[in-house]
């Protein structure tokens, strides 16, 4: 089962390596990981998407907590939360396909962030399903490159 785990860590060098080393060393999966600063500059926030059954998830959370640099671990499994991911997609857009590409983008509220004679680059934000669906629709036009940020998530109050 897919899980989103939020991890607050000390903003020190080597911390990412400790966290990723824990996952690789114990055979846990990382599907996506994203890291950024928080309001407190000494603390960073990681959002990790991982898979595993209940027992593995329990181990992941415990093992993360055991790392000296980890301040707090939150498993979103039993929480209400909002998740978002951003994706940049560079797609072939010759004259005959340009308007269709824009129409598709419009439906998904994607924005054009770069445009050339032969291509568009779209920025789309949303949950995983929405981004996957958008990519599916663009595929027939020929996707040149995709860059995804990985998920970020926040609990609802």
């Amino acid at each position: 089962m897919k899980h989103i785990i939020s991890v607050l860590v000390e903003n020190k060098f080597g911390v990412l390596s400790r966290v990723s080393g824990l996952f690789s060393g114990r055979g846990f999966n990382i599907e996506t990981i994203s890291i950024g600063p928080t309001l407190d500059p000494s603390v960073s926030q990681m959002t990790i998407v991982t898979t595993g059954d209940e027992r593995i998830l329990e181990q992941i959370v415990k093992q993360l907590n055991k790392l000296i640099d980890v301040i707090k671990v939150t498993d979103f499994a039993d929480k209400e939360f909002v998740e978002r991911e951003m994706c940049l997609i560079k797609v072939n857009a010759p004259q005959e396909h340009r308007s269709e590409a824009l129409r598709t983008a419009d439906i998904f509220r994607a924005r054009v962030v770069d445009s050339t004679q032969k291509s568009y680059t779209f920025q789309v934000t949303g949950d995983e399903k929405k981004i996957d669906a958008f990519i599916e629709l663009l595929k027939p036009m020929g996707i040149k490159e995709i860059v995804r940020t990985g998920k970020v998530a926040i609990t609802r109050d």
Partner: protein, 580 residues
């Protein structure tokens, strides 16, 4: 000393160790740590012992730590000095032994440049240390050392490494050693949850066939007294892991000895048939559980451990209690004493059953008049030392025989590499234990394979007057691997015959140590007695039965009640006769 006075990193290092009351370090010099060695030379408070290999330094610090409960300290240079420590660090990490290891590093400006004798030791040891540091500013050095000792020795202990670039050692700062440390992201649980402890007490009172299973956590938490109290209140039999040896007196009527792959018949059967297992400071290692699905099918499990990750890692747990074993057991014993159960009456039939198993198959081997049996050497060692020696082992058959046939009534008298299973651990670790206990007899029990893995430390023990008595059970084989090849690989002895092992007596003599040899059973006791009298390191070469095997044995992948025994053939013959 005025607080304004500046000190070099090397001086801060030494002053910090003094603040931690470190009396001995194991230290091997090299280019980037020359300044530290210069200041070691100028002081008198800290004994610094030069091993002959950096791996030996770490194992020695480890033996020092295990036998005392204090933090072991080692210092090495950068690059190969640092990488040579890795096996020692991993050994300590797997067994949760508190160490602080200082490694030299190239100057900060050169880090990442593939400089001479540079290795990314912080990166290399990240998965085998509890924590590690690269100190980039001399102003952080004292604080870092304070934190390192704190992290190494609290919670579930473990090794902590501090990497010291040369410029940090040479530049100067004000020395200010903090009294306390607070790390916001590190707060080990000490007290157990009261409700869980009450639940555990209730389950114990309700159990008909309980077994207490103790591990190295009991030793680390100095909780042997609490375990004994617990067993004596509740009349619950106690089995121990390889790491839990000495956590409960081996000669106590409630002791079942060791469980697991080479555990006793009665310990394994007790676990298999129990209705409640009280696991204390143990982690359900695969060498203990055998096939996990078949482990103790009818038992509820109470698991008491300081490390939450140990709980439910390998087996289901019904009542988890996270906390320091000593604290939790003190509380639990209070509850149990208050409950006023008729413990003797409740336990009578279960203990009678266990006694029957004990009689059915005690630990045994066949004695021989001509050839020395390795088990016999251990039994005699126990008798000759009166059980009052510190025993340190290497890894293999001799380790299992030592665990089976030497009886330990006290904690911290036994040092062995349990988790990592490091051949070459024993001799240097014995050296470290002897440094910490100059008035105690320290025996290193080894095999002819293991002893050759750190034999260079002979020089260290002679040079520094650290008399370690080394029992070599010499079968000219890598015996444990040979045993597996005999049992499971149709006797295809691939790379286990050590052929012409060196003459260990002459090896000892070449290093100015003493060499003794026994080839017949009647020579065993005289050799042991003589070795005890000698005030130097002694190698005792016991030429033992080559094909002896360690039994009982749970084959890999079997459940722990499915043991095989040495006398299996004879048992079958007996049965046949009875049928006729």
């Amino acid at each position: 000393m005025s607080s304004k006075q500046l000190m070099s990193g090397a001086e801060i290092f030494i002053e910090s160790l003094k603040k931690e009351k470190v009396d001995t370090i194991f230290a091997y010099p090299g280019g980037v740590v020359l300044n530290i060695f210069d200041f070691l030379y100028k002081q008198k408070d800290i004994r610094y012992i030069l091993p002959r290999h950096e791996q030996g330094a770490i194992h020695a610090a480890d033996g020092y730590a295990r036998s005392t409960g204090r933090v072991g300290v080692a210092l090495v240079t950068s690059g190969p000095g640092a990488t040579n420590t890795v096996t020692g660090i991993a050994t300590a990490y797997m067994d949760s032994i508190p160490l602080v290891i200082f490694t030299g590093q190239v100057p900060t400006a050169l880090i990442g440049n593939d400089a001479f004798q540079e290795a990314d030791i912080v990166g290399i040891t990240r998965p085998c240390t509890k924590y590690n540091y690269l100190v980039k500013d001399v102003n952080d050095l004292a604080q870092t050392i304070k934190e390192a000792f704190y992290i190494a020795s609290t919670g579930r202990p473990g090794p902590v490494l501090i990497d010291l670039p040369r410029d940090v050692v040479t530049s100067r700062a004000e020395f200010h050693y903090p009294d306390k440390v607070k790390i916001r992201s590190y707060n080990p649980t000490v007290e157990g949850n009261k409700r869980q402890i009450k639940q555990a007490a209730d389950a114990i009172a309700a159990a008909k066939k309980p077994v207490c299973y103790i591990g190295g956590g009991v030793i680390l938490a100095n909780a042997a007294d609490q375990i004994r109290e617990f067993a004596e209140i509740t009349k619950i039999p106690v089995t121990h892991t390889l790491m839990g040896i000495g956590g409960f007196p081996g000669t106590h009527p409630l002791s079942l000895g060791m469980l697991g792959m080479h555990g006793t018949y009665y310990a394994n059967l007790s676990i298999h048939n129990s209705d409640l297992i009280i696991a204390i400071g143990a982690r359900f290692d695969d060498r203990v559980t055998g096939k996990v699905e078949g482990f103790a099918p009818g038992a509820k499990i109470i698991h008491i451990d300081v490390d939450p990750t140990s709980i439910r890692k390998n087996v289901r747990v019904d009542i988890p209690v996270v906390g320091d074993v000593k604290h939790v057991m003190t509380e639990l014993n209070k509850e149990l004493r208050a409950s006023k159960e008729p413990w003797d009456a409740i336990r009578k039939s279960w203990l009678r059953q266990i006694d029957a198993w004990r009689e059915e198959r005690p630990l045994s081997y066949e004695q021989d008049d001509e050839v020395i049996k390795p088990q016999f050497v251990i039994e005699k060692l126990y008798e000759v030392t009166g059980g009052d020696a510190i025993i340190v082992t290497d890894v293999g058959q001799h380790q299992m025989w030592a665990a089976q046939y030497y009886k330990f009534d006290n904690p911290r008298m036994w040092c062995t590499s349990g988790g990592l299973g490091t051949m070459g651990y024993g001799f240097p670790a014995a050296m470290g234990a002897k440094v910490a206990h100059p008035d105690k007899h320290v025996f290193s029990i080894s095999g002819d394979g293991s002893i050759q893995m750190n034999i260079q430390e002979l020089a260290t023990t002679i040079e520094n007057n650290i008399p370690v008595k080394v029992v070599i059970l010499n079968n000219r084989f890598l015996g444990m691997v040979r045993q597996w090849q005999e049992l499971f690989y149709q006797e295809r002895y691939s790379s286990v015959d050590l052929g012409s092992v060196p003459d260990f007596v002459k090896v000892a003599e070449a290093y100015s140590a003493v060499g003794l040899r026994a080839t017949k059973p009647e020579e065993v006791v005289p050799v042991l007695k003589e070795a005890m009298k000698i005030k130097r390191t002694v190698f005792m070469d016991f030429v033992v039965a080559r094909y002896e095997k360690v039994f009982p044995m749970v084959p890999a992948g079997a459940s722990i009640h499915e043991m095989i025994f040495g006398e299996e053939k004879k048992m079958e013959e007996k049965k046949l006769k009875a049928v006729k």
